[in-house]
């Protein structure tokens, strides 16, 4: 099985970090992984997206044009990428910042009010971890345990104080996904 995951939002939402953590967790599970950021003449507050491929086989193309899973953190990302998701794929929507329902009926939908949930945990900045926890729980691409293990590897030493709130956010997202399925 090859998981081709596209995650998108605006700059500052931690899209790249979310992807890096996922790729790192996949690597720790001895899987083949690639992580590819969108790059270009970007500006602050502009769109950011990142592709992660996780597979038991060597990864062919690191570019994801038809994802098996799509994570959208804001409305412009839903507009841009909804049509690319493969039929039967998993669509994770941050409903805090997406004020319309997806049009696709042939995909599995997981709605996460990530900003509200992160706010309740005391840090809006971990909305990305709420979504990642929910995504991992719903997709089983990697285990939540591996994501938690990857946190201290990916976060620089001076940010290790933030691990606790990140773990809480991951768990909150995972709990939502397991309750809501």
């Amino acid at each position: 099985m090859t998981h081709e995951i596209l995650m998108a939002g605006f700059g500052g939402q931690g899209i790249m970090f979310m992807g890096t953590l996922l790729a790192h967790a996949g690597m720790m599970e001895d899987k083949e992984v690639t992580w590819m950021p969108s790059y270009g003449p970007e500006m602050r507050g502009g769109t950011a997206n990142c592709s992660v491929v996780i597979s038991h086989e060597p990864v062919a193309s690191p570019l994801v044009s038809e994802p098996t899973a799509l994570i959208v953190m804001n409305r412009p990302s839903l507009e841009r990428f909804e049509g690319t998701l493969r039929p039967g794929g998993l669509l994770v929507v941050n409903t805090s910042l997406v004020d319309r329902r997806p049009e696709r009926q042939d995909v599995r939908l997981l709605e996460v009010p990530a900003n509200e949930m992160a706010d309740r945990l005391g840090s809006l900045r971990v909305a990305n971890m709420v979504v990642l926890g929910a995504f991992v729980q719903a997709s089983r691409v990697v285990t939540l345990h591996s994501i938690k293990q990857a946190l201290p590897e990916v976060l620089p030493q001076h940010r290790h104080g933030l691990i606790e709130v990140n773990v809480k956010a991951l768990e909150a997202g995972a709990a939502l996904a397991s309750g809501g399925q």
């Binding site: 790729a23 992984v33 690639t34 003449p41 193309s61």
Partner: protein, 357 residues
């Protein structure tokens, strides 16, 4: 050999250079290769090396000339417009027989072009982009692991033949992350001796490093020597990967990033019962003739895919030499051909049509 770590392509290039014994880097910033100098600016001082941001690409390549002449393992990196600026220096390095490694993270051109991935510097890299009858070996890795191994090997090949060696990638290989196992660093005392280097002539006659031969006969003799060296490189340094499954009739030819997209297409085609092969040149010069000889008899046609208007396809046509049809599909200017587009090109070839038409 250590554990698998997740690394960005550009940073892996920097680390591979250090592990190959490179202690000098001279460059000038340009996207999409900036993580190479950024990484080396931090790492080189840690290992007693020198990182220097020059005032221009021209200055940087001539600093490479100086360090190489003094016997150091030295590297520079840039992207397409910057590599164009370095061509005079590359010709001088080749003429003076100085080893160095030059990395080109190719972007769309011509001119300033854009910053997105391209392979449109193939002609420049494989034909020797500067003046004079010279060649540089060119490595075209397709993964971060291979990038690490080939950057390290590039230093070996450069020293073995006293010649510049190029490693080419693009913004995808430079920006993406993949797990890599970093080879152990080369002990500095194990690097090849360079008795020809200009290291101060105490106790020996002076060494001279020059590419000036005003006597035509001497210049001709020097050229014959260079050509003999290039022939030896052609005999000994060819690298390629051949994917040759039972029943393949159409063979893709692709290198670097494009070969990864082609593999996605091959996997999907196989699910539909269409078996295809792949010839992936790893050295772009010397270009691999051998895999074509191995499959040409049973091949129906070749389909060369590039991020250019058709550059490597000329070498493919020379290798096939009219024995089979050679088709081409390419995208230019920084657009990566999509799996669907390549699959469409394959379908046309299978139907006997020209995908470029």
């Amino acid at each position: 050999m250590g554990e698998r770590i997740l690394m960005k392509g550009n940073e892996a290039i920097g680390e591979a250079a250090i592990r190959a014994g490179c202690r000098y880097f001279f460059g000038y910033p340009i996207t999409p290769q900036n993580e190479i100098p950024e990484y080396l600016s931090r790492r080189l001082p840690e290992v007693g090396g020198v990182f220097l941001q020059a005032e221009s690409e021209v200055a940087a390549i001539n600093m490479v000339y100086g360090a190489a002449g003094a016997g150091a393992r030295v590297m520079t990196s840039s992207s397409s417009p910057g590599i164009s600026l370095k061509q005079e220096g590359l010709s001088y390095l080749a003429g003076a027989e100085l080893p160095c490694v030059v990395v080109n993270i190719i972007r769309g051109g011509p001119g300033l072009g854009g910053i997105q991935p391209a392979q449109s510097d193939y002609f420049q890299a494989t034909r020797g982009g500067g003046h004079g009858d010279y060649r540089t070996p060119v490595f075209g890795p397709a993964s971060i692991q291979e990038m690490v191994e080939l950057v390290m090997e590039a230093f070996e090949v450069a020293d073995r033949y006293r010649n510049p060696v190029m490693v080419v990638g693009d913004g995808i290989l430079g920006q993406m992350m993949e797990p890599v196992v970093l080879p152990d660093p080369k002990p500095l005392d194990s690097l090849p001796a360079k008795p020809w280097a200009t290291t101060g002539n105490q106790g020996r006659p002076p060494n001279v490093i020059n590419s000036l031969f005003l006597d035509a006969n001497l210049c001709s003799r020097h050229n014959e020597h260079l050509q003999e060296k290039y022939r030896e490189i052609c005999r000994r340094e060819v690298r390629y990967e051949l994917v040759d499954p039972e029943g393949a009739e159409i063979y893709f030819v692709a290198y670097g990033t494009t070969s990864r997209v082609v593999r996605s297409v091959m996997n999907r085609a196989r699910e539909e019962g269409i078996i295809t092969g792949l010839i992936r040149p790893i050295t772009l010069w010397p270009f691999p003739q051998e895999p074509f000889e191995r499959v040409v008899e049973r091949a129906k046609a070749f389909l060369c895919v590039e991020m250019s208007a058709g550059q490597m396809v000329e070498d493919v046509r020379l290798a096939v030499n009219g024995r089979r049809p050679v088709h081409f599909y390419g995208r230019t200017g920084g657009v990566v051909p999509s799996p669907a587009e390549i699959a469409d090109a394959l379908r046309k070839v299978l139907e006997g049509r020209d995908p470029g038409a």
